[in-house]
């Protein structure tokens, strides 16, 4: 059933502009001249891409570059206005996702798409269940046959036979990814599209995922891989295609590239200078008194947060590191009042406080940019203006009763301009913005409350390089003006760069503290990174 490509030649990857079918990596899927236009925006303009057997094809581009649209077209979710899809040399059209699946294209989305309450096995065969052969049996599922079909794959992709029986929702992000891969392999996948598979994974989990990708490649599957992390590409991707503003910029061999050259392709020459310089731009640090904004004393909430002590001062960025499940987000939720501490004390500006809900937190000057933007931050049907003002409506309310819409619009415009949000206007619905711009609106919402302390939980999840740098800039501007920030991130380089010091959490406790900051040299940073990893994973005694 699978043809294993033992002698993959890298030549195939080098002949990237050659559309002919090569002997080793024959073209399985092509998009030719694909175009898609939405009201006011050309999402994709005359983009072509070829996918070959046994090839990992990375797709790069900033948010809004057209990656999602291209993926949508290939997976049958989005109908292109122009262009064609060619499979094995024949031109086809997908009018729904099932048609794309039926020719062997599987898409694994950024957000997990497993049904959390069904078992892994049920998820793998969802909608395509195997039935028993007999007349009556056709109404019965043949679990044995389904199990048998994936049995030999299970261990290879890091699952256990036992995991198949567990509800998918009880598995970690990595195992969920593995389950999705099995879902693809159980039905002859020829093309697997991975949409930012590593977001939300810890470093060692990413390594396992990469192993899985290599195994898929060795089985002759073509992989289209969307990622924002350029460091991941090298040594794994065979070809890289870069999109910008809906256009195809280049298809290149990674061997000829560096992270910097890729950034230049992604953002274009005009902006690369800004992107690079703003990386280190942290000019005027806060020079006022370094008062304590937040102090936690033996704060606990069983079982995920235990006996945490920490302090955040004006003008500083406190990073919180730790592997998934270390209790970082849970701690943030306690500070915000979304969950309550079982014991311990929280003081804000030197006064002991009780934060019973987020409303209390906002009143005390604490605001959060939550993780999982789509589910926890964005009010999709609201305009940008309404998304910005929601956390402090008193700023735009006349006589404590009526919302002054023109004042709201004016203020929202100020934030949209200051944060350089790309939009056709503040009356636009937020769900029509790209991820990076949505994140800026969420940050604007926090700034709108004029907070003393901001918590950033995975603030750059799923946004592109340029937008990331802008998020860092906003964090710096906030603390340099006298605010305090807590940044939670699973990406160590990011944390090392953006924080002044880093608290490492492990199993709900503070395992240690490490200095950090933009002034550190590369060597220092890699030492610190090792130190943090050691603190984060060392088994508890």
């Amino acid at each position: 059933m699978w043809e294993i490509m033992s002698s993959r030649s890298t030549d195939a990857a080098l002949l990237v502009d050659d559309q002919d079918t090569g002997p080793q990596g024959s073209v399985v899927l092509q998009a030719r001249g694909a175009g898609k236009r939405y009201p006011g925006v050309i999402a994709l303009d005359d983009v072509s891409i070829s996918m070959r057997r046994g090839e990992i094809h990375a797709l790069l581009g900033e948010n809004g570059a057209g990656k999602s649209t291209l993926i949508g077209i290939l997976s049958g979710i989005t109908e292109p206005d122009s262009g064609e899809i060619v499979i094995d040399g024949t031109s086809t059209k997908f009018s729904n996702a099932a048609q794309s699946q039926s020719v062997g294209i599987t898409t694994i989305h950024q957000e997990q798409t497993l049904a959390p309450d069904l078992t892994v096995l049920e998820n793998i065969f969802l909608g395509r269940e195997l039935r028993r052969g007999s007349l009556l049996g056709r109404f019965l599922l043949d679990e044995r046959a389904m199990r048998k079909r994936v049995e030999h794959l299970v261990e290879e992709f890091g699952l256990t036979a036992d995991d198949l029986r567990r509800p998918a929702g009880t598995l970690g992000a990595l195992k969920q990814h593995a389950a999705q891969i099995l879902k693809a392999l159980a039905f002859d996948a020829r093309v697997v599209i991975l949409d930012e598979p590593t977001s939300g994974l810890a470093d060692h989990e990413r390594m396992s995922l990469f192993e899985n990708m290599r195994r898929l490649r060795d089985r002759g599957v073509a992989i289209l891989w969307v990622t924002h992390r350029l460091d991941e590409l090298f040594g794994l991707a065979d070809v890289i295609t870069v999109l910008r503003d809906g256009h195809h910029v280049a298809t290149v061999d990674p061997a000829t590239q560096t992270p910097d050259s890729l950034v230049r392709l992604m953002v274009g020459r005009r902006r690369s200078a800004v992107a690079e310089s703003s990386a280190e731009a942290r000019g005027n640090r806060w020079s006022g008194p370094e008062e304590e904004i937040l102090r936690l004393e033996s704060v606990s909430r069983a079982p995920l947060v235990r006996d945490v002590n920490l302090v955040v001062k004006r003008g500083e960025v406190l990073g919180i590191a730790g592997i998934a499940g270390a209790g970082r987000t849970e701690l943030a939720r306690i500070i915000l009042g979304a969950d309550r501490a079982d014991k311990g004390q929280i003081s804000v500006n030197g006064k002991q406080v009780r934060i019973r809900n987020p409303r209390d937190a906002y009143k005390l000057g604490i605001a959060i940019v939550p993780e999982e933007r789509k589910t926890q931050a964005v009010l999709g049907d609201f305009s940008l203006a309404k998304n910005i003002s929601i956390s402090d409506l008193s700023r735009v309310t006349r006589g404590r009763m009526i919302i002054d819409r023109s004042a709201e619009r004016k203020l929202a415009n100020v934030y949209v301009r200051d944060l350089e949000v790309k939009t056709s206007g503040i009356q636009q619905k937020i769900r029509n913005l790209s991820g990076g711009n949505q994140q800026k609106i969420v940050i604007a919402r926090c700034l709108f409350t004029r907070p003393a302390l901001m918590i950033f939980d995975e603030p750059t999840q799923g946004i592109d390089v340029a937008a990331k740098n802008e998020v860092y800039r906003l964090i710096y501007e906030f603390v340099d003006a006298g605010g305090g920030a807590i940044v939670i991130s699973s990406e160590l380089p990011e944390l090392l760069r953006v924080s002044d010091r880093i608290v490492v959490m492990r199993e709900g406790r503070v395992a240690g503290e490490v200095p950090a900051g933009p002034d550190q040299s590369e060597d220092e940073r890699s030492d610190r990174a090792e130190e943090i990893m050691a603190l984060a994973v060392r088994s508890s005694s």
Partner: protein, 346 residues
């Protein structure tokens, strides 16, 4: 093609379709029956519709916040009963009104408390309170003879007129307008939409759901209480089972008007149009001597038709919208980014 675009752009305006169907229906009935537009008939029509209109207006709040309130029919009955009882015992109109409103608000508080405080599904909570309080009304009617009060002022609440307008219609109109304004103009209304659009995001953004949700159910209960007071005044008698089924009519009205059950979308006036639509339909059918038993059938068909029609217009609008745009007017400009200045964000 041009006509299609026009049609689509008209249909895309919220609530236009129902309003047009509503007007068409009025024209149809007035042509079919000379009495339909008669002042007596219109008067009846409006007075009859006030109860549904009120409940539908309250229901919009509950639906927009992402909940559902099945108890309002029984709230109406209980508050009608308690109002009449208070009237009989004390003969004090203000006290009776206060009892009617308070009983509705109290049941709303119970609903909201169970939903927000204990996290029980609103459908289940209000199904339970529906059962509890319709049973409560039955008990009440067996204990007390709820017919007639000597008070003229109580009767005039629903039977009197102000400036030639039936007073219940006037009261309802004022309440409905207030409700719409509160929903659109106040922070309270804004938070209701936010909670309905994305509950978790609203919570993280500082919307206090533990307070907001009970407030909405209290409001819904109090409005049902008001409807109960008016109904008690109109009938001057309260029987077991009074108000039962009103909750479904109210939800039907909201849905026909175009308020979604998923939350975050809709308005008071859309529900009101839906309620008026149903009331007009019922009245028109009576005039045409169609048996009232057919009314529920037609209601059901209207719900399906309303949903199907709004889906169709949405699709039509979506299909047509990209075409009339000039080629990419708001496309990101090629290079305005050289003058990107670091902006002050605080």
């Amino acid at each position: 093609m041009r006509i299609r675009e026009r049609l689509a752009s008209i249909a895309a305006v919220e609530g236009v379709v129902v309003a047009l169907v509503f007007v068409a229906m009025i024209i149809f009935f007035s042509l079919s029956s000379p009495y339909f537009l008669g002042s007596q008939n219109l008067r009846n029509l409006f007075v009859e519709s006030t109860f549904t209109v009120l409940l539908a207006a309250g229901t919009s709040y509950v639906l927009i916040v992402g909940g559902i309130d099945l108890s309002i029919g029984s709230v109406l009955g209980v508050s009608a009963g308690l109002t009449l009882l208070t009237m009989q015992k004390t003969n004090s109109l203000p006290l009776a009104i206060a009892v009617g409103l308070a009983s509705g608000a109290a049941i709303g508080l119970l609903n909201g408390g169970l939903i927000a405080g204990m996290g029980i599904n609103p459908f289940i909570v209000t199904l339970a309170t529906l059962s509890i309080f319709s049973g409560g009304l039955n008990v009440l009617t067996t204990r007390a003879q709820l017919t007639g009060t000597p008070s003229k002022s109580f009767a005039s609440l629903a039977q009197g007129s102000v400036f030639g307008l039936p007073s219940p219609v006037l009261i309802t109109a004022i309440v409905v307008i207030l409700l719409e304004l509160v929903l659109v103009l106040t922070p309270f209304g804004r938070r209701i939409y936010a909670a309905g659009i994305n509950e978790r995001a609203a919570h993280m953004a500082g919307v206090n759901l533990r307070r907001l949700r009970p407030q909405v159910y209290i409001l819904s209960g109090a409005i049902a209480g008001l409807a109960g007071i008016l109904l008690a005044s109109k009938l001057n008698s309260v029987q077991p089972g009074l108000g039962s089924g009103y909750e479904l009519t109210a939800i039907a009205a909201a849905v026909i008007g175009g308020v979604g059950l998923a939350g975050g979308q809709g308005s008071v006036w859309r529900s009101v149009i839906g309620a008026l639509f149903l009331a007009t339909l019922s009245q028109g059918m009576q005039l045409l001597s169609i048996s009232s038993t057919w009314f529920t059938v037609v209601t059901g068909i209207s719900i399906v038709a309303a949903i199907a029609f709004s889906r169709m217009t949405q699709r039509l609008a979506a299909a047509v919208r990209p075409a009339p745009l000039p080629p990419a007017p708001t496309q990101p400009e090629p290079s305005p980014s050289d003058d990107r200045t670091p902006a002050a964000a605080g």
